[in-house]
Symmetry: C4
Subunit: 232 residues, 4 copies
């Protein structure tokens, strides 16, 4: 039995949640799940319809983006995943989708303002939209550079990837991550819903203010602080 079976299975299950949560049309999305001990991650093969996915066809790739095991070509976004795993050593899974509302914000090249507690339950900041990449980065090692565009954005804004587990890449689409596949997919779905609510909020009130600091802090603390009292 393969030593990669656990992450292949976790990766398969996480990928299959994307169509269930209406986060993908056709094959417009992918999830990877890492094994930090082995220094590799499992990722969806490129262009395979979800209904045809099989767990043991998840491709095994190392953190430099080199294929370690598998007969199929991995997701075309594999190098972006590799960079994020390499640079951010506490994430265990990554999700990329073209979910409708989050992608619309990315195309609009705007951060998603923090308008309410649904957002504050997950983040204390506007969800960042990294600017479109420079022509040099695009014409170079594109997917590799996409990873660094994400990391640079976090560094410039002094954000922690452990607190803010999602980003929009300008003109492109969202990425989300987490400690494991379930959490990363959860974050991708939360991002889509927060994006939809923020869009509607501005339509209903173009001058809607950002959430006040006391509420941002309260909702974050009750779910993630040292005295958190949400969940079991």
């Amino acid at each position: 039995m393969s030593k990669y079976q656990d992450i292949q299975q976790a990766c398969y299950k996480a990928n299959m949640q994307l169509p269930e949560l209406n986060l993908v049309l056709f094959t417009f999305g992918n999830v990877s799940v890492a094994d930090r001990n082995l220094g590799v991650f499992a990722i969806k093969p490129s262009g395979v319809p979800y209904k045809d996915l099989v767990a043991d066809e998840m491709v095994i790739v190392d953190f430099d983006g080199k294929i370690v095991s598998g007969n199929m070509r991995p997701s075309s976004d594999t190098k972006t995943h590799a960079v994020l795993y390499k640079e951010w050593d506490k994430i265990g899974a990554i999700v990329h989708t073209h979910s409708t509302y989050a992608t619309a914000w990315a195309q609009a090249q705007r951060d998603i303002p923090i308008f309410g507690t649904t957002h504050a339950d997950h983040n204390t900041v506007d969800i960042p939209c990294a600017p479109p990449m420079s022509d040099e980065m695009i014409k170079g090692n594109y997917e590799f550079e996409t990873g660094y565009q994400i990391i640079n954005c976090f560094n410039e804004r002094k954000l922690s990837y452990e607190e803010v587990e999602m980003i929009l890449v300008g003109n492109h689409a969202p990425f989300a991550w987490g400690k494991n596949g379930d959490k990363a997919v959860y974050n991708a779905a939360v991002l889509e819903e927060v994006a939809r609510m923020a869009y509607l909020t501005e339509q209903i009130n173009p001058k809607a203010p950002r959430l006040k600091d006391a509420l941002i802090d309260k909702h974050w603390q009750r779910k993630h602080g040292k005295d958190a009292y949400y969940g079991q």
Copy 2:
């Protein structure tokens, strides 16, 4: 057999309607059902996915917010429910969701204008949006104060909780209630649909007028007045 079984079962069934009616993503909502004779209510355990809910795990809490029975931690919003039961003695169930359109109006910090008979069949007033809470209330006993923010809003506007069975808490999300679990969930779903229709109405005609008084009165009376002729 537990004396709480009836409200646990009613609470379980009411909670399970939330995903069926598309009112919740993941665990972003909760329903409680009270037994006025016993002076307690049953409420969803915190953070448990709907598909994993079990009726006898509904937590039993008194109207001061103290756990009376149950091994799980109750919803993080439990104290808000407790305050409403304590202050408003004729409500039998409470629903809290982050349903998309109602939450967008809450984030926009606007009352939902009464634009048509769909609204007037259920309310005679704009659906109130309580202002965001003061920093003192937020930093104090937050969920407890959320209950009082709701009650204060009704008192200031001289609204009756028996007639208007729903509210938006500014920057947060909606609450609805009713004589029992089914009615409270019904009200939460009506609020979401009325919120959606009002949003679309303003998009189609930014100068759409409020419903005229004669229609407000007629639709309310035919469904709720002493000579009501709606239903069996």
Copy 3:
């Protein structure tokens, strides 16, 4: 076997299409089907959830709105149906819903402009929005007067109910009709989709022009003219 069985069955089946087509929330809609020879129509009982409907509980009412047979209270909108059957002698079924987009246009008090061939396949005019009723009509025999508000609107605009099989009642919601239950429900669903497309059209281009006359005529004729070539 009851002589009303055929229309009760047809009425039951037509009503059951409303939730399938996402045209109703809870009980916010009703369908009636007439038997012109017997001078009566079958209509949904008031306030009964669709899942609990039974064909032989459809209430039989005459064209003056008097109950002829049945133990249940008919839809609160029954008199509106009666007036339309009495005044327009070629319609065989009527549908009333509060479908989301059509209701939003009714609340916005605007006709739905004819923007494309989807609309022209079914109508050659903007879909009329009758103005909100006068206070006298509302305070009088309300549902009866609603029927006359619809008929007056058609008369004033010189529209034919045989060509235009749908209307919005201002501040209220849509009505549609047709030769039988299936056609009336079809019209209600077409109205909802046309309402949605027209809303989006104006959002995408606030100056979108109405459809040109040649296209209006062509699409109408190819589906409904004497040399129609649509369908079998």
Copy 4:
């Protein structure tokens, strides 16, 4: 066994994908699949509900629009399909729908701007909206002329039908095509999603810029260029 059985079966399967992908209401759409060796195509019979479709009732038509085999009347749009097959000799299937967002852009008479990589994965240009047809074309051989309106638009803009596999016909609705039925339906669904995202993008940022050339080129090349690395 009929020599048309293969395209009838492929045509049937492609048509049945339209309701699954939410691209049609009732019968508002049709797919055809061609056999280039036989010089014919199979197309949906006119006005038949999808649930009643049967593969061997797909009508066989030649590239001049003449019925070759079949007892039913073909889609009213058949001549438009015939013209496209005749003029563009490398397409194997055509889809016409009135899908909601694409139709709204057609009614708005606007090209869909290329705002992001979801679009660039499939096209390098704004999705063209052919202007509404002249009165002469409409009053003449309408469906035949609709085909030429599409071809004229591509010629005037110097677009290749092999690269851009979709178009909006102003005031009407979208057409898409591809090498086979699956690809043509895929293109129709991508068009609908791109139309929806572009609408939302402009709502979120009315000044959203078009995608930069480097990204347009990169995404097209990685999926369709000579060194493409998307898919298996």
